[in-house]
Symmetry: C2
Subunit: 224 residues, 2 copies
């Protein structure tokens, strides 16, 4: 195979430093419903779709949320997160990594479990070159850890998923990458431990986009 | 040996759910100085003394903080944290665990890297029985990962550190426990991964205080 592999990037915790703001936003939205969940348990569910996250947390609390409650918690989460959006910055090396891939002609896309509006508020933090496909929750039936987001992203790049590398910070990204038959690259920048990503099946683990940029040769991206 | 081992508890992330609020408070205090640090890197330093944390972060940024800057960042961190203190709750099972130890006559103390004023704002979230020793940063020369806090706590219980179990959520607690010659018990409730605590040398790892309470027999605490 002569061509460069495609890279399919998660957004939150992978390109922008937003995971901890999301965690606290969910904590606040749940507290408004009178549900106090340990913050670390929310952290470990970030990266799933909001609906799956709430199902998983409901199981831990030991009760179900009605569809009305789920809708309200999601809306309140988005409102709380919007208050913190000014604190969200690109992760170190994120823009430089995208610029390098663009300049060497390596195809890439962004695939996030967030809905389009929230995703766009994150994308605007970055310098994403024109024409890069952006797949959101609204484009697929099932979000991570299902493979749909990454499968759709590969299709938009006209690549087989087997010729793609998924880059993400959560075990849900890595599990979804394996279900998509792509190799998964873990980044520590979402706050998971290295071993958690390793054990989920990551092919390689780096600190953050800057560290991945320094080691692109390890994952098969070459200068033109 | 007939008597119960002593238990030396860390506070933040171990008994109260405050780690993520501390993380964002440090992030905000550093941003006020124009220093944008990745949030996960701050998370992995929580539990050290504030001074060591800032030294470690300065090394990652690649510059030193003056003692004036350190003072200002610490003050701003405390101010930011104070704004979130109402969101800080006891971790699940924390009060029940302390009540059980009290009722079976197992000696215990709380030892935190925070300064006295901040520590007390956390202690007030809990029902700590009268007479339980509380050791803070102000009582010792060096905070975690040095063993001083736990050594002082054991002394206050009139126990050899070798007869004590340190309970903490961070690798700094576990490293300090080993330097104090005590066994370290890790809790996931501060957001570290299980393997990080294992690899730091934890004797056992539980989810949170409620999970430890369910397994007290594994660590040598018996009903009277």
């Amino acid at each position: 195979m002569d061509s460069s592999p495609g890279m399919l990037f998660d957004l939150d915790g992978t390109l922008i430093d937003s995971v901890y703001m999301h965690v606290l936003s969910w904590h606040r939205a749940l507290a408004r419903e009178g549900e106090i969940l340990s913050v670390w348990r929310i952290h470990r569910r970030i990266g799933m779709s909001g609906g799956l996250l709430l199902n998983a947390l409901a199981r831990e609390i030991g009760r179900e949320f009605s569809s009305e409650e789920i809708e309200r918690i999601q809306t309140n989460h988005e409102a709380e997160y919007a208050k913190m959006i000014d604190e969200v910055r690109p992760l170190p090396g994120a823009n430089e990594l995208l610029a390098r891939l663009h300049s060497v002609g390596a195809p890439f896309a962004i695939a996030t479990s967030g809905r389009a509006a929230k995703a766009m508020s994150g994308i605007r933090k970055l310098n994403v070159p024109q024409g890069v496909p952006i797949i959101t929750r609204d484009d697929v039936k099932r979000a991570k850890p299902d493979p749909d987001l990454f499968l759709a992203a590969a299709e938009r790049l006209h690549l087989a998923p087997e010729n793609c590398l998924v880059v993400g910070d959560s075990v849900w990204d890595i599990l979804a990458s394996r279900r998509a038959r792509a190799l998964g690259i873990g980044l520590l920048s979402g706050g998971y431990g290295r071993e958690e990503l390793d054990q989920a099946g990551a092919f390689r683990v780096y600190n953050d986009p800057a560290d991945l940029l320094d080691h692109l040769d390890e994952v098969g991206i070459r200068d033109k």
